[in-house]
Symmetry: C3
Subunit: 134 residues, 3 copies
């Protein structure tokens, strides 16, 4: 057990990976760890407020059977789990400036659980040790 | 060089990623590091005892040529490399309770190299620093 | 902020992930952190000198729209960003011996930004804490 910050770089935007990321975030926050999240590429695109609840698919390897198991299982949406993690602990979510530019997005286009945008050097200023890439 | 625990969250269930994960686990164990593995989603599904040796495919990006290079290369199955890592070092493998529920699995359905199941908060109690997500 | 070594295992060989990895490497190097990179599988294959600048595709989840946004954005090639990161900081890039063997490659087949090859145990001798898997 440890109290260092958990630094997550979210790259993938499929619902299964974002769900896994949200569960890890909630678990870490529940154990009293600060969580520092940086959104890049397809993960950033998934946090657009107009499409955050649409179906973002699952990893191709899931296959039909896996995708059905995922849908059937239900449970809370990953955005809701991130929201709860922010309520119970110290969780910050920032969009990568370079990815924002690539998609032509502004902070107003993103769901309010995103705290703002920053560059990668700024992200690394808060990194305590290594980063987890999802 | 370092003696902290290596905490791995395995998410992907393709043979190439599981092979990479098993090689990293064996390498870390050989260097005297404790390895703490948590199985989620498609990685968990790949550890079912009835299908662990079946073909789980490779990442789509491998293409036909890459997939053939992977098959041709042969070498030990990743489950065997995990087994050996457990023999040479302190390696624990736990299934994520939420994913178990999603697939309707019990511990008896899994290969005996899996030590049991636990929730994400329980996994984080043993985490020493960050986690590696594969 | 932290001055421990960032240890990256690059597994994926698509241009979007390699671009993300190169940006994180440059960010970490700019903040004065040592970066220790280990190339496996499809990432290793992407560093072949004869094909490093060819199109390695993007993650399947990108879809047509995402792939177009990626292409349109332009920006520097990831190999150039890695090269600059090596200029500004202490960044080493080694190929995994097992993956070299799988693809039948020698160090001469790789782009000169790759410093050499090593086994996984040797990689872990330089690992300071956890590893980031991309």
């Amino acid at each position: 057990m440890d109290d260092s910050t958990l630094s997550l770089v979210l790259f993938s935007g499929t619902d299964d990976k974002l769900n896994a990321a949200s569960v890890l975030t909630a678990g870490a926050a529940a154990m009293g760890r600060k969580v520092n999240i940086f959104l890049q590429y397809w993960a950033l695109d998934a946090f657009r407020s107009d499409t955050i609840h649409k179906d973002h698919g699952v990893a191709p390897e899931a296959g039909t059977e896996g995708a059905e198991a995922y849908q059937r299982h239900g449970g809370q949406h990953w955005s809701e789990i991130f929201r709860q993690a922010k309520d119970i602990g110290e969780v910050s979510i920032h969009a990568c400036s370079l990815s924002m530019e690539m998609f032509g997005l502004t902070v107003e286009d993103l769901d309010p659980i995103v705290d703002g945008q920053e560059g990668v050097a700024s992200f690394f200023m808060d990194v305590d040790g290594p980063v987890t890439f999802i």
